[in-house]
């Protein structure tokens, strides 16, 4: 599958996750977010940027537990909890935030 955005074609998997990590940029992220019904704020970008940094270092998306812990370290306990993350990404930080961050779809039963 694929979609068109600003004159460029983006390859995706069946669920709309970008195939090429390097295709990603802020504009296309905002576009994917819009399709998901998520309006990107600074708080949303904090999560997405963290996910991308983590993925570049470890080649895997972090487990929710690690995401929460790292968010807590960086931004404090009011942002380092699951209710906060689900508030930003109602379909779940794993599924939705990873999609917007241009990472592959997380697998396994979370």
């Amino acid at each position: 599958m694929s979609f068109e955005f600003s004159g460029k074609t983006y390859e995706t998997d069946d669920d709309g996750y970008l195939i090429n990590l390097d295709d990603w940029n802020q504009d296309v992220a905002a576009y994917i977010a819009e399709q998901e019904g998520v309006e990107m704020t600074d708080a949303h970008w904090e999560v997405v940027n963290f996910l991308r940094t983590y993925y570049k270092e470890y080649s895997i998306a972090p487990a929710i537990k690690i995401l929460i812990k790292e968010m807590k370290k960086m931004f404090g306990p009011e942002k380092g909890n699951s209710a906060y993350l689900y508030n930003l990404y109602p379909a779940g930080p794993a599924l939705q935030a990873c999609k917007i961050a241009g990472l592959p779809k997380p697998t396994g039963c979370v």
């Binding site: 699951s82 508030n87 109602p90 396994g108 039963c109």
Partner: protein
């Protein structure tokens, strides 16, 4: 039954005097294509001796990470009715008390939005609604929550707390299991709906050591009612049992696992210091014997079925805790355990496996509990400890 449904292998399961899930599913096959294709796919599984469900798949409802288990057919073209067949877990009521109207409400919602098939109640605890499509998840969730129902837990989260019928019907209940299950469910909504643990965490509450929820075997944390003082004895009622011809010697005294009961004519004597609270004597003579007056619960940790490691039974972590509203002591313990397990546990590691890996001593230090003799899983099995010395010391009036 639908005419175009040929399921000779499944039909075998309708024979005999027992309840049959095939009969149940067939009763819906007339009006639900889903039920029909479910039978067809299962028949094919029986013919080919393999399952045709794909594993997992992430599906859910907005705001929740748990409560829905994704299930897809591996043969969607052949069996379109079950191409999606997701399970929803609905948070059960404490002790499984429902009015007929409440159950009808669930059934109506489920017939409208799903297959109409339920599994009520298995050991998971929840009301399990079997089979719906992805696009039906949000509408089902909306219909359920409008009526005050909620989803239960699934995945690496707190699973829906589950309890026995407790003081609702049972005089053995050593604490209010119904109230504690309700309390914990509300206190830990975030942990229940938004998976963030290493793996699942099940809490089961039984009111007495008969353990009707099988907490000792099936829950990461079992809260099992127990008493501290002596078994209450009604001598008149004991005499009545003896006079009525009950073989108290054979059925009670000789079956006591620690041999701490003696029968002397019409009277029984219990050496309570050696009682292990197995409930046997109380179960045989319920009119004469009952749990003591100083009641609370023992808390066990670590039971699980074999998946990553082998099966484990729970072992005692708190020998006795008084359990009264607002249950702050339990909350405090649960939170200390979660914090340490979360910090040091690995992905997919249950609490029992975690304790085995880091050792009980490390775990106790981590959660701030003192080691106690009751925590020893198998007493007197270490060949390097010579108990004679201890006995000798005891004899000399020392400990």
């Amino acid at each position: 039954m639908a005419d175009d449904l040929k399921t000779p292998l499944l039909d075998e399961l309708e024979k005999g005097p027992w309840p049959s899930f095939v009969k149940d599913i067939k009763s819906l096959a007339g009006k639900k294509e889903m039920a029909k294709d479910l039978l067809r796919q299962l028949e094919k599984s029986y013919e080919d001796k393999r399952g045709y469900w794909k594993h997992g798949g992430l599906v859910g409802v907005m705001g929740y990470g748990g409560g829905v288990i994704g299930r897809y057919s591996a043969l969607p073209e052949e069996f379109p009715g079950v191409s999606h067949f997701h399970t929803l877990r609905i948070n059960q009521t404490s002790g499984w008390f429902y009015t007929a109207d409440a159950l009808r409400e669930i059934l109506n919602i489920w017939e409208e939005h799903g297959s109409g098939l339920l599994n009520v109640h298995g050991s998971t605890g929840d009301l399990v609604l079997l089979g719906t499509r992805t696009e039906e998840l949000e509408p089902t969730f909306r219909a359920l929550t409008e009526k005050g129902w909620d989803l239960g837990g699934s995945g690496s989260d707190l699973r829906t707390p589950s309890c026995c019928v407790g003081p609702g019907r049972c005089e053995y209940a050593c604490y209010d299991t119904l109230s504690l299950a309700y309390n914990l469910t509300h206190a830990y909504q975030d942990e229940l709906h938004r998976p963030m643990f290493n793996y699942k965490y099940k809490i089961k509450m039984s009111g007495c050591p008969n353990d009707c929820t099988a907490a000792i075997a099936r829950s990461d944390m079992g809260i099992i009612g127990i008493w501290k003082d002596d078994i209450q004895v009604k001598p008149d009622a004991v005499a009545e049992y003896v006079d009525s011809g009950l073989d108290v010697q054979g059925l009670v005294v000789e079956n006591c696992p620690t041999g701490c009961i003696e029968l002397d004519g019409n009277e029984i004597k219990i050496d309570n210091s050696n009682c292990v609270k197995c409930m046997h004597c109380i179960n045989v003579m319920p009119k004469a014997l009952s749990p003591g007056k100083e009641r609370g619960a023992a808390i066990t940790l670590g039971a699980k079925a074999p998946i990553v490691e082998g099966a484990l039974f729970g072992s005692v972590i708190i020998p006795f805790m008084k359990l009264e509203e607002p249950f702050e002591e339990v909350h405090d313990l649960i939170e200390r355990i979660w914090e340490f397990w979360d910090e040091h546990g690995t992905n997919r590691e249950r609490i029992g496996e975690f304790i085995e890996r880091v050792s009980l001593a490390t775990f106790l230090e981590g959660i701030g509990e003192k080691p106690l003799p009751q925590m020893i899983k198998a007493p007197r099995d270490n060949p390097y400890v010579f108990y004679e010395e201890y006995y000798a010391e005891e004899g000399e009036g020392e400990k």
